[in-house]
Symmetry: C2
Subunit: 404 residues, 2 copies
């Protein structure tokens, strides 16, 4: 008798957690589980702003897949997904192909540049381990070069972060912590360095409690961050950015522009013919793609509407992990012949944004958190995920154990 074959594409939060839940809950030989991922490691996307700024080593954000996945239950294939052939129930990989009975699409995000000219070509993005260590090394190289130039180039020391959402603010907090260390390392006066945050909305962290936003802005400004709010990036060139605010145009020269202003789902989703908005499939309540009873979508490629305000939930790690739980439950029901699937309902426990070493803001339930309390809570949230993924051993190995 042939076992049903479950193929999970991507080992980000949604994908790896689906695999781990399935390996815990399936009986021996109940299903063939295949996990496909480009790298042989999972990484903490929500931590990537730290290695990008150089305040944490990238290895602390990555977890080898075979450290959390049991080879006896999950077959790991290291390869890159090229296309999903929906009608043939087949996945094309760079080095082969796989057929499936059930598919989980957990292919993660891509930067969304909203058609802003030159952004794709000239800006960095905080995307994966490869991209963030490149940002770190690029910034270091700019600082290292500064004193070698006969004519000092301010653009080497002008760091521009596009977007004041979660990632942008967390990144800029780390950057503000790193800059004094870089100045020390490369004999540069701090006053020559600019850290500029550009955001089209009139506030940073849109959607956050205004009191907390004010706190965050003050903290970051005290660390030397300049905010340009209500300001559009019109163009990103090889020389820097062209900004516009109230019909005023300003050009800032910079060798380092990091775009954090938008994400979208993986373009493989729409290229494979799924109906999608910016790579995100508006899934049914049971997380299946409309019209495909054997295809689940979780994480950044899934679009879920919050019925309370009729707007999509932001694609966070927290939601991706919760989706993985529902997805694994529903896969189990399907392979066990139970057609009554569970509905996904996010349970937002809280949201905390870090502002660099020892500082953060957030809400947990109705409670507002600031400063070191918020910072400790952020680490507790991070550790909780590691616990869910790999138990206490993984918390000890990769956790943030120094809470204060």
């Amino acid at each position: 008798m042939s076992r049903p074959k479950i193929v999970i594409l991507g080992a980000g939060y949604g994908g790896i957690m689906t695999a781990v839940r399935l390996q815990k809950q399936t009986n021996a030989n109940e299903a063939e589980i295949i996990l496909v991922n480009k790298h042989n490691y999972h990484y903490q996307t929500t931590w990537l702003h730290e290695p990008a700024a150089g305040t944490m080593h990238h290895d602390r954000t990555r977890i080898m897949i075979n450290d959390v996945v049991d080879e006896n239950k999950v077959n790991f294939v290291q390869d890159t997904v090229v296309e999903i052939k929906r009608e043939e129930q087949k996945v094309i990989l760079e080095n082969g192909e796989l057929d499936y009975d059930y598919l989980v699409i957990a292919l993660g995000f891509e930067p969304e540049t909203f058609g802003i000219k030159g952004l794709k070509e000239n800006a960095f993005s905080i995307r994966n381990i490869d991209s963030v260590r490149k940002i770190r090394e690029h910034i270091e190289y700019q600082f290292a070069s500064y004193n070698n130039d006969k004519e000092k180039k301010k653009e080497r020391l002008t760091l521009i972060v596009g977007g004041a959402g979660f990632t942008g603010i967390e990144f800029i907090g780390e950057l503000a912590d790193r800059v004094p260390k870089l100045c020390n390392e490369f004999d540069i006066d701090r006053s020559n360095v600019r850290i500029i945050n550009v955001e089209a909305m009139p506030t940073l962290l849109p959607g956050f409690d205004p009191e907390l936003v004010e706190y965050a802005k003050n903290i970051l400004e005290r660390k030397g961050v300049e905010f340009k709010l209500g300001t559009m990036i019109k163009e990103c060139t090889e020389e820097g950015v062209i900004l516009s605010k109230d019909d005023q145009v300003e050009e800032i020269k910079s060798n380092t522009v990091v775009w954090t202003g938008g994400v979208r789902g993986n373009s493989i989703v729409e290229n494979s013919g799924f109906e999608a908005m910016r790579g995100r499939v508006k899934v049914n309540k049971d997380l299946r793609a409309p019209g495909y009873d054997n295809v689940f979508v979780v994480g950044d490629c899934a679009l879920i509407i919050n019925e309370e305000n009729d707007r999509p939930y932001p694609p966070t790690a927290q939601i991706a992990i919760q989706e993985a739980y529902t997805c694994a439950t529903n896969l189990l029901r399907l392979i066990r012949g139970n057609e009554e699937l569970a509905s996904f309902k996010p349970d937002i426990k809280g949201t905390v944004a870090s502002l660099g070493e020892g500082e953060a803001i957030g809400t947990v339930g109705n409670k507002k958190l600031y400063g070191s309390t918020a910072s400790a809570m952020k680490k507790i949230i991070d550790n909780r995920y590691l616990f869910l993924l790999g138990g206490p051993g993984l918390v000890l190995k990769k956790g943030k154990l120094k809470l204060f």
Copy 2:
């Protein structure tokens, strides 16, 4: 009564050692001693290949000038020398000028590119703290970028060192040690990296004992270094190097070309009208510039002929330090009215070239040294200099204390 004014230009081996000898030997108010240097630190030029490769932090090679120079005896001026006005006994600095009764020119070296096309524009050089940390960061950036490129670029991982003299070989030894660590850091297979040494002479380390040279070549080849001996760099372009050997032309693409193939004295020397060959003044036996009884030249800007073979001594740290001793002695004699000056005679105690961690070759007296013995001897030589410069305290602070 006005004291004679001694101005020392440059705080490299020759300059700082002259200052330190004078501060030890002069009585209070016997002379006004002024030391001029671009930076507020001295650095160990002979160690720079290590921070260039990234195997040692650059701060270990630098010594703050006020850590070894007594402010009560030596007046330190941080400024950059622009020109020496010989006839007016005046030195033009970027931010001022100084007149002198006695002058010590210790302005160090510049890379000599022998007119090879594109080398000045496109190759790095191991020259000072600024230049070596730029090399380190450049190489790291190339490795960090490699996995981000859709089409992998071999030139990012092709490291070319021009010149197989002392600096070239010592640098390539460190580089060979660093590359496996870089591969590990950036998830790159070692087999994709090339470390190539190009030398116009048919051997590496020309002038060294052939048996030792053979040993060095084997050690480095075992670490993965490719030697292209008897090979000229015809041109260095933005894309790499064009080599020629026996009328065969070969182009190697590389983003990292480090030129170590030649040094010359500081061009300020000839631009100020001193008779010089490649920035080096053929000094009298007492180290004075011909025709200028109050101007001494030491270190890389001094040319001294070895009478045994009628060839110039190579401008080493060892000789610069010995010159500083003679120079200080002669300055003392002059200010004390003794016109009978000491003659400089180098006393070559030994020469050791390191080949990376724990490996070296060298001669001390007539004895050949290999491997860990030579490596320990190298460190003893380095520590001895620190002892001469700043006593046991400086050895403890900046010395290489792990001999084996």
